[in-house]
Symmetry: C2
Subunit: 420 residues, 2 copies
Amino acid sequence: MTFSLEQAGRQAWQWLEAASAFSETRDIPREGVTRRCATREHRELLEALTEWMESLGMAVRRDNAANLIGRHASATPGARTLLIGSHQDTVPNGGKYDGMMGVILPLALVKYLRENAISLPFHIDVVAFSDEEGTRFSSTLLGSKVLAGTFDPEMLEATDGQGVTLESALEAFGCDPARIPEDRYRPEEVIAFLEAHIEQGPQLEQASLPVGVVSAITGIERHQITIHGMAGHAGTVPMALRRDALVGAAEVIRHLNALCKETEDLVGVVGKIENAPNGVNVIPQTTTLSIELRSPRDAVRRRAREQLLEQIGASLEALNLTFDQVQTYEQSAVQCSPWLTATLEEAVQDSGIDPRVLFSGAGHDGLAMAELCDIGMLFVRCRGGVSHHPSEAIEPEDLTAAVEVLAHACQRLARGQSPA
Amino acid sequence: MTFSLEQAGRQAWQWLEAASAFSETRDIPREGVTRRCATREHRELLEALTEWMESLGMAVRRDNAANLIGRHASATPGARTLLIGSHQDTVPNGGKYDGMMGVILPLALVKYLRENAISLPFHIDVVAFSDEEGTRFSSTLLGSKVLAGTFDPEMLEATDGQGVTLESALEAFGCDPARIPEDRYRPEEVIAFLEAHIEQGPQLEQASLPVGVVSAITGIERHQITIHGMAGHAGTVPMALRRDALVGAAEVIRHLNALCKETEDLVGVVGKIENAPNGVNVIPQTTTLSIELRSPRDAVRRRAREQLLEQIGASLEALNLTFDQVQTYEQSAVQCSPWLTATLEEAVQDSGIDPRVLFSGAGHDGLAMAELCDIGMLFVRCRGGVSHHPSEAIEPEDLTAAVEVLAHACQRLARGQSPA
């Protein structure tokens, strides 16, 4: 074998290190990586990616939404396309791996296939989505929506912090936003979309596994609850006459936590709380808190919501408190295609790794790509489950494992594994 | 009778209305009263009080801490002095009655005694303490500490928001701060200190009583608790692996509330909470909260503190959270003298009112005056239990009841009622 999996893993590591330099920040270990859509850092990264792709004999193009797509073409006549990729953008002061690892791993895969003369009956299109985090324009999933054909042109009017519209930023980047609709893939030409991404959670690390297979991308809902009590002097109002909004908030937090702990496939958090007047010697008058529920099964999430709101209503009434509740966000869960999940599980086993299936508690480009085609996802272990932070870290040897799993998956797809 | 109790009550109401005009604010109904120590408003108020006192034949003086003292002298040779008074200062945007009512009521009492030719075997010194709230210099109980001889000269270096020291403010007010030690009363010349004050709570209103007798001024302790958890992505960390600081805070709030509700003579509150990073989709890392416990019985408060800290420790450990706890404040309770409480109870009965004894959950000048002499307090009903707010309100006829109770109390003291 002229180019080993270990070499492919090391190559991925080197490319990832090189890619992290394209950042608004200078001191990457301390400040992490900040790379937003349609910026100088984005342009410089795409130039480097283009060079690496062309060195692999790939045909490279940019679309009108600043996505970069490199094709590793098949010699098979009438070949369809397997899309593999992730996003190039980061949150402010994010890590080196969230997104970028999913762009680099398929490049290392292509290098491994090419060096070992492994031919496939389908094209591999490696995609660097321009914008998934939405850091610059609050334009979450911009790149994947364009490829899936669900991009809403109204989004072009979104502005960044300096008042620059997405439209003019894309134009300055060399794109023609009016031609975005032409950039969609046609469903019949696509086999599936695969994404490799760091787990952003601790489950693989705790199980000592380098990779895991994703069953679904979570659904999410958020609510804002405002509890109305009655301010008063903390020394002079007898306990029995108090209407303490923060005491009500404590009950909300307790109910949510208990419900999520006892319900399978449900997580939730009260992440944000604001209390007024918030004085050490004043009975709290108004407490506002956020509620977030996530589940890969929408029915579980909706049932939990009803149960929770019922419990909250009863507890707050018993405390002589009133409350307003408003749902601020809802995103349905997206299932990974069972046949792809099965293929990835088998590819994990082919690699000598215990197959672990878990759901993604975070959103990913697959949410949008599922409108176009079947999707599958591979998670790679990340240190401490930490992401969106300069200290985001992976183990170099896990890149080797991930390339191996992707290679086995491609070979299984080549042998005709497809929807039942 | 040439001057009735009703007339005395109406006179008190008129003086209170007039006094409220000496305020930094212009629109009293909306903005309330703001009157700080050693300001123009303080000076103008003392000029008005002096005029009213002199119209009652009282001998008026200002001391070196900007207290105003008017003496209604007794003809009895070697007479001792009954001190009656309260503070002239307010919190920012406070009410018309907190403090001021306790200055005006003894003036109305003196007018009633004088007009009805009721002579007493003791002097009555009516005191308008310069500063109890500590709004300007954080110099709580300044006026009463000076009269009690417990004033710490280091306090003179305290500065207001503009950097003016208490010392220079007093000098500009015409005081000689170096001579403050001369302003203390000698214990042997004083019978007792009485204060009338609005209740600042809802108990008298709920019991439909115009006045109540105070048994003790609460002890207070405050703590700051900082709970340390582990931030994380709210979608990707399984419930069982979370260390959510806000979930711990909810347990603290719950324990405190339950303990105070089930313990007699104990109130407490978590009034303040700060959560970090406080994002809707981030597991809370650090939550800081205040704990306040108040009781008229120090032993009850200390036992409650131990019990609470034990419960908090056990709950947070079970949640895999750590915490720091620091006591930020402690003030022991001060008991009103039982013989004075009994005298006031009888005076309330003399006035045809059901005697109700309650403790003060707020601090008062009596905390300092108790170092000098026996103290007694009369509470007057206030609307909705509201204080420290522009909407602070009393019923005019309750002033009549309060003057009557003070008159009966004086007559009982004159008949020789004194410590057993």
